[in-house]
Symmetry: C2
């Protein structure tokens, strides 16, 4: 499987699929046996349970009890299918914006994103430079922007803050997610990997050449029983990022 990338297909085809009216167009020919929605759901189920690497047109068709090529009647290609999958999970996850200060709202937003990534780990493996601008993603963007509306920031700053939070959460979540993925695909669990790596590391991390790294590496290794703890890293980083944003808001008089 090549790198899975949103926006890799024909944009207007993806957009038509995303916003396409679900009205059953009166037409000749045999009755459709499938729906786009059903295909997308099957694909999401497959990716949730077996990972993005297991997501193939053949496997999706198998789950639906049809031939592989039948899918292409409903969906132009795998690229566009992935676009719709991505938008769909954001649509389902549409959460209420909680009450509270802007900071509490931003924090909740970050935690929602973190939770969504836990539920659908494959979403972080999809490159979204050209996001599928469907109803789910747009609604999410609207919710996010509202948390920083009215703080005295200009539009560009508001957008930048949202981007910052999303970039940061995605980065931190990727680490947590990968730990699960690599265990599934390699069969080597964290403990086994650390057991194989630790002794090598001790031999190689000599305090002469790497005084600080060997000290800190030893401390963190013992503390986490692993090379790092993604959950802790997420919490720590989130507070720093929010602190940084708060400073800007204060300067703008929010």
């Amino acid at each position: 499987m090549a790198t899975v990338r949103s926006g890799g297909g024909d944009p207007s085809r993806s957009l038509a699929l995303l916003w396409g009216s679900d009205q059953p167009t009166r037409a000749r020919g045999p009755k459709p046996g499938l729906t786009v929605r059903g295909i997308v759901r099957a694909a999401i189920d497959l990716a949730d349970s077996e990972g993005l690497d297991a997501l193939s047109m053949r496997r999706v068709a198998e789950r639906l009890g049809v031939g592989t090529m039948s899918l292409y009647t409903y969906v132009p290609g795998k690229s566009e299918l992935v676009d719709v999958m991505l938008d769909a999970i954001h649509l389902e996850a549409a959460a209420e914006v909680p009450d509270g200060t802007w900071r509490q709202q931003l924090e909740a937003m970050a935690r929602d994103q973190w939770a969504l990534a836990r539920e659908h780990p494959w979403m972080l493996h999809i490159a979204t430079t050209r996001p599928p601008l469907g109803p789910g993603i747009i609604a999410k963007y609207e919710r996010e922007l509202r948390t920083v509306e009215g703080l005295g920031l200009d539009d560009i700053e508001m957008d930048s803050i949202i981007t910052l939070i999303n970039d940061y959460v995605a980065g931190a979540a990727r680490s947590a997610i990968n730990a699960v993925d690599v265990e599934r695909s390699s069969g080597v669990d964290e403990a086994a990997w650390w057991a194989a790596t630790g002794p090598w590391l001790a031999k190689v991390l000599d305090p002469e050449h790497y005084p600080v790294a060997s000290r800190v590496g030893t401390t963190t290794g013992q503390h986490y029983q692993a090379v790092a703890d993604p959950d802790h890293a997420f919490e720590f980083g989130l507070q720093r990022v929010l602190d940084g944003i708060e400073l800007l808001v204060q300067r703008r008089g929010g």
Copy 2:
């Protein structure tokens, strides 16, 4: 190609490769015609110029003028090869730590990482939950930690700060990198994509349902002539992150 993941191979095999003495073990049989270093260099060249999707054992062997399977004499598999590639680029990039305040040093470190990702865009497509702990990566870790040594932080906090910066830069750089990748792989450049998407977006982003998103989306779209500007996002976010870290350092009395 399945998702490329570091730590997917046998850890001790990767580590042996990473730290393995380069001394030519006196042995029987024909003279080796290749070296691990040469294979790694060819693989890096290929990935640099054509992307990670184009990195295949066949293509690497072709560049070296040997049969595909000959590579397996030197390298256990593709996983381990990627591990060594990743360590190698960090070893080459080993930069001097500049003088200045800890903040200036951290900022320089982030910019170095950003520049490295520009040079070797494929590095960000590799999942590094279990990083290849070779001489390049370890030396980098040591350099990074030294910038936050002596500020009154404990070891865990020092490690967390480094993780935060690296996570953030990786996240922001991924956006910039993907813009280039998606253009290469799809043949659709940013302007063409935006030309196809913009009109759709205008139709769909109605101010009734999405008042804030439509306003901000329009402003940023006109400002960037695209859906976002990764370079601007990087600069903005970096200052917020550093501000947040500075607050912590101040509280610790640094």
